[in-house]
């Protein structure tokens, strides 16, 4: 036991110094893990609740990031699709392609025959049998025109206008419209994500605070004895903060599991959706950083919830 040497303090601190502080943390961590095991049903329930509260905003965050990536890729490649009339002969397609390639704004023109379009459609939908049963191919041939990255929206409209009225052209679709929708969706998701993040974050915090409040009530006798034998407020708070942290950490882990599960469930339709825009499915941002951020968020909210619950209650507990 260390007492401060040469101290003039009439009640010098008795304590093990930094080593004692570390020992206390180690002991508290061990006991907190043991306590979680001892109340496994409650622990699981709290983990699930915090996990659900974190999973939704986390999932929205992933969707938003991926939409941004997707729209970013499209923004670098402004383009349009030129759909030909069903009866248009093949040379119309070739002539139009040649004409477009002469324009300075155009970087590339891909020719998609009606047969290619049909194959693509079969690949990205479950309608292969239905399509095979049709007497003839209902899809028109088309030209996919990719403009140079530096071309402004006005240039896109100019090319589209030039094609309007050309023989054999049925429709011209400017992809910017789709882009704008993606961007609008992304902006809406950002706001929704923030709102839900705050609401569900507060929910996770309240779940942790309530669980810790119950733990405090169960530990009243221990807290009183600890106060009597000279525990500081920090020492009395510590086991409860650890407990809150473990609740939050488990909740973060659960949230990661929920998000993974959701991704597995929506992977197939997502792949089809991405494919229909000529993009391979590549979910970004669900990586080690995202996983660690979820754990850190859970840990922080759990400890914060515990702090709120403990701080409110500790001051009211004094003596026997």
């Amino acid at each position: 036991m260390k007492r401060a040497k040469g101290s003039t303090d009439p009640w010098p601190r008795i304590g093990g110094g930094f080593g004692g502080w570390l020992r206390d943390h180690a002991l508290t961590a061990r006991e907190s893990v043991r306590e979680l095991g001892g109340r496994s049903a409650t622990t699981l329930l709290v983990w699930m609740l915090i996990g659900i509260a974190l999973a939704l905003p986390a999932g929205l965050f992933l969707v938003r990031v991926n939409l941004e990536v997707l729209s970013g890729e499209w923004e670098g490649r402004p383009g349009l699709s030129v759909y030909l009339e069903l009866a248009a002969p093949e040379e119309v397609q070739d002539n139009l392609a040649a004409l477009l390639r002469l324009r300075p704004e155009v970087e590339r023109v891909d020719i998609v025959s009606s047969a290619d379009a049909l194959e693509e459609f079969k690949t990205y939908t479950d309608l292969a049998d239905v399509l095979d049963a049709l007497p003839e191919n209902p899809l028109p041939a088309s030209l996919r025109v990719i403009l140079k990255a530096e071309v402004e929206a006005g240039g896109l409209e100019e090319v589209a206008a030039a094609l309007d009225g050309e023989a054999g052209v049925a429709d011209v679709v400017v992809e910017r419209t789709w882009l704008e929708r993606v961007n609008d969706l992304s902006a809406a998701l950002t706001r929704l994500g923030l709102l839900l993040g705050v609401l569900f974050g507060a929910g996770a915090l309240l779940v942790a605070a309530t669980a810790i409040q119950l733990a405090v009530e169960q530990r009243l006798a221990e807290i009183r004895v600890m106060r009597l034998v000279g525990a500081t407020d920090a020492q009395m708070r510590r086991p409860l903060l650890y407990l809150g942290g473990l609740y939050g950490l488990g909740g973060g882990l659960m949230a990661a599991m929920w998000v993974s599960l959701a991704l597995v469930l929506i992977e197939a339709p997502l792949a089809r959706l991405a494919g229909s825009f000529g993009q391979p499915l590549e979910v970004v941002a669900f990586d080690a950083g995202f996983f660690l951020a979820l754990l850190a968020l859970g840990l922080t909210l759990g400890m914060l919830g515990a702090f709120v619950a403990v701080q409110r209650r500790l001051t009211a507990i004094d003596g026997f």
Binding site: M1, W11, I14, G20, A221, R224, V229, G230, T232, G319
Partner: protein, 235 residues
């Protein structure tokens, strides 16, 4: 270490009841004193004030020259580490073994696991609890539980030992042994204050006796020599 002064201490509750009235007392370091008096005389309030579980309405309680009622929370915790407390209900932690209960103040003070266990065993030896280290409190008799509380109080070798009816659940022989343990600590410089109704025990030990009645000191054997039974009658 362990000089205690009550300077005109009054504790009045919101309902107007005065649990202590203008009490002035001095306890030298290394002394042993019995507080006696009927229920409601103010013994428990005296203990609570000294433990800083309550604060005086008026007056000061100085321990080693410091007004303990004015201590900041952290200093208060450090102050309490110098106190050993034995309560009538030992308030043992039911989910911890006896040795863990006894070692609790040592762990709070940052003692290493091995040293804490060693010192806890030594304290248990002083009160005759060898072999009960791994028992849970519910497996012990009330007398044994009380001794666990005493072992917990002395494990830290406190500067001040406060005991509120420590022998209430013990047989006379064991009570006497516990008082001898307290005397050993007194000999080491610990200031011992025991609140007790056990007049036979108090009389047999010949230590200082203070009688309280309705929150006031009615007799102090340091000022006049009395049979404790007379002091209580007077109270």
């Amino acid at each position: 270490m362990g000089e205690i002064e009550f300077l005109r201490v009054t504790r009045r509750y919101d309902n107007g009841h005065e649990a202590l009235r203008d009490v002035s007392l001095h306890f030298t370091a290394g002394s042993m004193t019995f507080l006696t008096g009927h229920s409601g005389a103010g013994k428990s309030t005296f203990m609570r004030l000294l433990l800083c579980l309550d604060r005086p309405t008026r007056g000061q309680i100085r321990v080693n020259g410091v007004n303990v009622a004015a201590l900041a929370p952290r200093q208060l915790a450090y102050y309490r580490r110098h106190l050993g407390v034995v309560l009538q209900d030992p308030h043992l932690l039911s989910n911890r073994t006896v040795i863990d209960n006894v070692a609790l103040p040592l762990r709070v003070a940052g003692e290493g696991e091995r040293d804490a266990a060693r010192r806890a065993r030594a304290a248990m030896g002083l009160v005759g609890l060898q072999g009960k280290e791994q028992s849970l409190p519910r497996e012990l008799s009330s007398g044994e539980q009380q001794r666990v509380g005493i072992a917990r109080a002395v494990a830290m070798r406190p500067a001040v030992l406060l005991a509120d009816e420590p022998t209430g659940n013990l047989d006379p022989m064991l009570s006497r042994e516990i008082m001898e343990v307290f005397r050993q600590f007194r000999a080491l410089g610990t200031t011992v204050i025991v609140a007790s109704h056990d007049l036979a025990l108090i009389r047999s030990l010949g230590e200082r006796v203070i009688a309280l009645s309705a929150g006031a000191v009615v007799a102090d054997s340091n000022e006049e020599s009395f049979d404790p039974a007379d002091l209580v009658d007077r109270a």
